[in-house]
């Protein structure tokens, strides 16, 4: 069953809807990034998605386009409990249009995305770091940032050092092989 929200979006934006995914009753639409904000506004104004659950981002390091923004929408009003996920892909140096003017909550979500991934938002009223301190030189959730961290120094504010990994990192990878193969004591990462 295709969701009526997805049908309305397709009627309104046509070719800008690049992909439509349904998984166990939950719907995801992938939108062309130039129309992403218009589509999100349409979802809020015409489809009744009054609540933005989360804004997050993906780092597809090594393939283009590198960034992917993910918006989780939800309807609270009128007893509705509809859920819609909207995705849009961006190249490394592209800026993303802010949606903090549509949903107030996006303000801090987008600051977190900026803090952790370094994706910048066009039109954001207050684009500062939210978890790390101003002046921290790295974006720690990028795939090319080492798990142990990197040394940095900001006098009188904070410093960081590389964490000793003591034989780690202990990471798992999906495979049909034995547990021993899937979860070795340590796996080299570079």
């Amino acid at each position: 069953m295709s969701s009526d929200a997805v049908i309305s979006l397709k009627n309104e934006f046509g070719a800008s809807i690049l992909e439509e995914i349904e998984f166990r009753g939950e719907h995801t639409v992938v939108v062309k990034n130039s129309d992403a904000k218009k589509a999100l506004q349409f979802c809020r104004d015409n489809l009744g998605f009054d609540y933005l659950i989360d804004v997050s981002s993906l780092d597809n390091f090594g393939s283009e386009p590198r960034w992917e923004m993910v918006y989780e929408l939800y309807q609270l009003a009128n007893g509705g409990s509809r859920h819609l996920r909207v995705k849009a892909a961006y190249a490394e140096n592209e800026k993303v249009d802010t949606v903090s003017d549509l949903w107030e909550t996006a303000n801090w979500h987008e600051r977190e995305v900026y803090d952790m991934m370094g994706i910048e938002f066009e039109g954001h009223p207050d684009l500062r770091r939210i978890l790390m301190w101003e002046g921290y030189p790295f974006f720690p959730l990028r795939k090319d940032f080492p798990l142990a961290g990197r040394p940095s120094e900001m006098p009188d504010v904070a410093f960081t050092e590389k964490a000793p990994l003591a034989g780690g990192p202990f990471v798992t990878s999906p495979t049909t092989a034995s547990t021993e193969h899937r979860e070795p004591r340590s796996r080299s990462m570079d």
Partner: protein
């Protein structure tokens, strides 16, 4: 501390006076007072702080050891209990609070995170508060139970018993030498 004696037949003994006098060393008296009225600075940063609160509450009752007067001003505290994960963002604030505490002062690193960074081998977490401030007692556990904190506190009291603060100040010779003597004594603990 001088034991109350049962010997009452000494020629020079005046029970009216000597019954109320205790002979001791200055260091022993000072240490006795210090160790039994440790005022903790609760540096609660994560889940260890919950156990710290439990230790202060009625069931475990840290006041049995004279340490119930939690002070939220560093200027009134004797022992900083670092209870929880110290992030780099918080680290210099912890150091600053520590610097504001008057001497003599002690530090307890409570739990795995404060002692070593714990399970957070991460870009964001200081790998042990001993990178910034001197730690007297480390308590293992994640988080440690209140009994463990009380045990740590009692070990700290043991350590304070052996300190020689006045001797270090009065002794002839360099302060370093006196410090060394004091360290030799407290090494027994």
């Amino acid at each position: 501390m001088a034991e109350k004696t049962t010997e009452t037949h000494h020629a020079a003994y005046d029970s009216k006076v000597e019954g109320n006098i205790i002979f001791t060393q200055v260091d022993a008296a000072i240490n006795y007072m210090r160790k039994n009225s440790l005022w903790p600075m609760p540096m609660g940063l994560a889940c260890c702080a919950i156990e710290l609160m439990a230790t202060g509450a009625s069931r475990f009752d840290i006041s049995r050891f004279g340490a119930e007067v939690m002070r939220f001003s560093p200027r009134q505290s004797d022992v900083m209990i670092v209870a929880g994960t110290v992030t780099y963002k918080m680290a210099l604030a912890v150091k600053r609070v520590w610097d504001q505490m008057p001497e003599p002062k002690w530090c307890i690193a409570m739990g795995a995170c404060a002692s070593s960074g714990g399970m957070y081998r991460s870009y964001a977490v200081l790998q042990g508060i001993d990178n910034l401030i001197p730690v007297d007692i480390y308590i293992s556990g994640c988080p440690p139970r209140p009994e463990a904190l009380i045990d740590g506190l009692m070990r700290l009291q043991k350590k304070i018993e052996g300190e020689q603060s006045t001797m270090a100040q009065l002794k002839d010779g360099s302060p370093e030498e006196a410090e060394k003597d004091a360290a030799a004594v407290s090494a027994d603990y």
